[in-house]
């Protein structure tokens, strides 16, 4: 009897590990920033170098920081969705133009549409490093207290938008606490 049970148990355990492994994406590294204050910076706006912006300016608002670049292919994939979202107007999206050339970036916005309140010019990528950016596009959700509540790595998909970002930002707008059942449900969807 044992000679059948032992290999069977080993097989099931091994199979279980491999099955779980199938659904893990090694590229998704959990951000240590979640529930920590968004790092401070001061950058010029892409379209108007005289004007600067700092995350502090957005205290009291729920907003999204979307890291993008004209050389980034996956950004093009999520872009129509962002444009659509900005037209609905329920959420402020700010762009972080990461390691780009100003002319290319402006041209890109003209060509594909500009969903951003404005974009910030991070040409040397220092702010990107400060935010732990390692794959563009990345999208941070920042709450009224200036705390990062969620980070999407890779392009935003319609599913992520409808199941995670939209409900999450609505709850954050209503100052829902982290412990509330609704918030927990949304965070589960986001994970």
């Amino acid at each position: 009897m044992m000679r059948f049970i032992v290999p069977l148990v080993l097989f099931v355990v091994l199979g279980g590990f491999l099955y779980v492994g199938l659904h893990l994406d090694p590229r998704v590294v959990p951000s240590p920033f979640i529930n920590n204050p968004a790092p401070d910076f001061k950058l010029s706006q892409l379209q108007d170098f005289q004007a600067t912006f700092s995350p502090k300016d957005n205290l009291g608002k729920v907003w999204m920081l979307n890291v993008w670049a004209s050389w980034c292919v996956a950004c093009r994939q999520e872009h129509p969705l962002l444009v659509q979202m900005s037209k609905r107007g329920d959420l402020a999206i700010y762009g972080l133009n990461y390691k780009d050339r100003p002319d290319d970036a402006k041209q890109w916005l003209t060509q594909f549409g500009n969903p951003y309140v404005f974009s910030l010019a991070d040409f040397d990528g220092h702010v990107g490093i400060d935010y732990g950016v390692y794959g563009v596009p990345e999208t941070f959700v920042i709450d009224k207290q200036g705390v990062i509540r969620h980070k999407v790595i890779g392009p935003v998909t319609p599913t992520i938008l409808s199941e995670c970002l939209t409900p999450l930002t609505q709850l954050l707008g209503k100052d829902e606490s982290t412990e509330s059942p609704e918030m927990k449900k949304v965070m589960k969807k986001c994970a």
């Binding site: 090694p26 590229r27 590294v29 959990p30 951000s31 240590p32 920033f33 390691k99 990528g125 220092h126 490093i129 400060d130 935010y131 732990g132 390692y134 794959g135």
Partner: protein
């Protein structure tokens, strides 16, 4: 014939030429400071940090753009007087423990650190127990009777005859 005799020499020259040009391919990131002591520290710190784009390389080994940026960041920070440990902590704060090539010792990584040792212990105990029970089975087996011995002899004998014919 003449060509054949020349060939080894030509090959040698070709190999030598390759050896001369090979280092030229290795493009290093522009160094901020030509300070060998600083560069040594940059190397030490960056070989402890994982490149997140090409995950099985350190940022010291990788030529991905992010790795070069991070290396420059390390250099700048060390240059401005930050200690090695502080630089690693800065990266961990931003990219998580995954960025460290040597994972830290903490409850979530105990299995990682002790798993292999544990597996060896389990494997050796299984081996030991199996061997002992097998030896016991052999020792405990009833001794052969005269009838058994005869049967064996007959069988062996029959086998020998079989091969001869």
């Amino acid at each position: 014939m003449r060509v054949n005799r020349l060939l080894p020499g030509a090959a040698l020259v070709a190999v030598l030429m390759l050896m001369i040009t090979l280092p030229g391919f290795a493009k290093e990131a522009a160094t901020l400071a030509q300070d060998p002591v600083l560069e040594k520290r940059v190397d030490a710190v960056s070989s402890e940090l994982r490149c997140l784009v090409c995950q099985n390389q350190t940022i010291a080994d990788s030529h991905a753009e992010l790795a070069i940026d991070l290396k420059n960041q390390v250099r700048e920070m060390l240059h401005s007087g930050t200690t090695n440990e502080e630089v690693v902590n800065y990266m961990v704060e931003r990219y998580g423990d995954f960025v460290r090539y040597k994972p830290p010792m903490k409850p979530t990584t105990y299995f990682l650190w002790f798993g292999p040792g544990l597996l060896i212990v389990i494997g050796l105990s299984v081996l030991f127990i199996t061997l002992r029970s097998r030896r016991k089975r052999v020792l405990d087996a009833a001794p052969l009777t005269a009838e058994d011995t005869k049967k064996i002899d007959d069988l062996l004998h029959a086998g020998k005859q079989g091969t001869k014919s």
